[in-house]
């Protein structure tokens, strides 16, 4: 049996490492995770070698699923990209999102509703995923109904 090459967006891909591998594995299944410190339970993103909340040097971060809801703190319309694979997507919106699960965690991703989507500070969003290649998906956001 022959296999066709995996679909590819031409966009750059994340290269998982020891700390990030659980996050990217979950993202491939379209599940957003944050890293929970095993000592104090605080969520963080991205994971690191120590916990900044409790100071643990052995935080044993685990990737825990979150519902991916949040509110827009800011946005920008990207009209010139410096990366491969984005030219056909211009212009696109990046949103800076405060996650409901823990508001001091902020994520930045594309808003998939297009450049003319009605946005204001506090607009509710939820996570969505873009499949970039076989087994690789990255988080993005879409506008959500108000809670």
């Amino acid at each position: 049996m022959t296999s066709s090459p995996p679909p590819s967006s031409g966009r750059p891909l994340p290269v998982p490492d020891a700390l990030s591998a659980p996050y990217w594995a979950a993202a491939a299944r379209h599940v957003l995770t944050l890293s929970r410190c095993s000592d104090c339970g605080t969520l963080t993103h991205p994971p690191d070698v120590v916990c900044d909340a409790c100071g643990s040097t052995d935080p044993r971060f685990t990737a825990v699923p979150v519902d991916g809801r949040g509110v827009v703190r800011s946005w920008t319309v990207v009209r010139q990209s410096f990366l491969p694979g984005f030219a056909d997507l211009l212009p696109f919106v990046l949103v800076d999102v405060e996650l409901t699960e823990q508001p001091d965690v902020r994520l930045v991703g594309r808003l998939l509703d297009g450049p003319d989507a009605p946005l204001k500070t506090g607009s509710p969003v939820r996570v969505a995923f873009e499949d970039l290649a076989e087994g690789v998906a990255v988080p993005a956001f879409v506008l959500a109904e108000s809670a």
């Binding site: 994340p14 900044d52 990207v78 410096f82 930045v108 991703g109």
Partner: protein
Amino acid sequence: MSAPNRARDEVAIVGYAQSPVVRHADRSLGALTLDTARAAIADAGLTPDQVDGFVTASLFPTSGEHAVVDGVSVVSADWLAARLNPNPRYAANFSGLGQIPGSMAMAVNAVASGAAEHVLVHRALHNPAGSYHGTRAAEFRGGLQWTAPQGFFGPLAMIGLTYNEYVQRYGASREALAEVVVEARKNGARLPWSHWSGRPLTAEQYLAEPMLADPIGRFDCDIPVDGAAAFVLTTAERARDLPHRPVHVSGYASGAPPRRRLPAHWPLDDIMAAGTEMADRLWAAAGMGLDEIDLLQVYDGFSPLVFLWLEALGRCPVGEGHHYVRDGGIDSDRPGADPVLLSGGSLGNGRMHGVPQLLECYLQVSGRAGERQRDGVTTALSCHSSPHLGGALVYSAHPQPATHHDPRT
């Protein structure tokens, strides 16, 4: 209350040189920097063998694929020392952001401690051929794995998110940012060494420019250049015997270690919280407050940083920087205004990082600013980078008496 910094006013700037700032120099950055360093040493009335300390920050602030080659795209302290005094007592590179306050602090400490007698601080910046920030990278490791595949990459998106947060919260207008850029370009147009020499910008030209990362357009960003500047520092005591009026470094402060964020993510509240703390450390270090500063030179590598610096330093309340600059508030030609971009800044010189602000403070306090010289400037303050990750320096013509107390106590 901690003890005052014993380096306060003990170290002075005694000479300088500034190269032409051009899009692409017709020779190597190393050659340009070496000539600039020699000129600064001569300006200070010294010879290279007397310069026994070398400090720089050699960050090459590109997101692109350019190789970092010493003498070509960067010039390290060691590279320069090897060609001026190959047996220096002190040679060091500052590696953080706020490269000017960071490297100046190291030079001040080296002189004050006696680690070196005469320290040359230089900054050399390069504009490589091809796209400055563009990359063809097919994958990203480390910190950028969290942002680049999602399309968040490079400084335009970074400042676009920060500044839109400001615009949405405080209602800043395009006209307010135009006021900043036009003022920087006006002052830069008067500088013979500037890339923008003789080329001011009108508000109409600014407003006609399309967005790159809303609400940021091309003229809100400093243009990449080849350029070098150098300053010579020594003790206040030795400075008295040198040709130019010494400019003492009264204090310095740098931003706090950043809290955990995605790479190049600068939430507005992070900037203002850490920035106001940085300002408090600066006043304590310098032994004076903002009301004792005759000339304030803020950093403008991205135009919105002018608002953020004015607010972090307390020149105006948080959220009101965009009002402060309107209607000629920072117009260097208007009597009574606050000429915070007299240096031309990075927007009016080219991407020289915090060099223009440092240079203008030096020239004004030493009385060497020529046609731009203002009366009564005996103290000055220069900023670089962002208030939360960068820093600032305070300068004085006259050392303070040892009994001068921290104004906050």
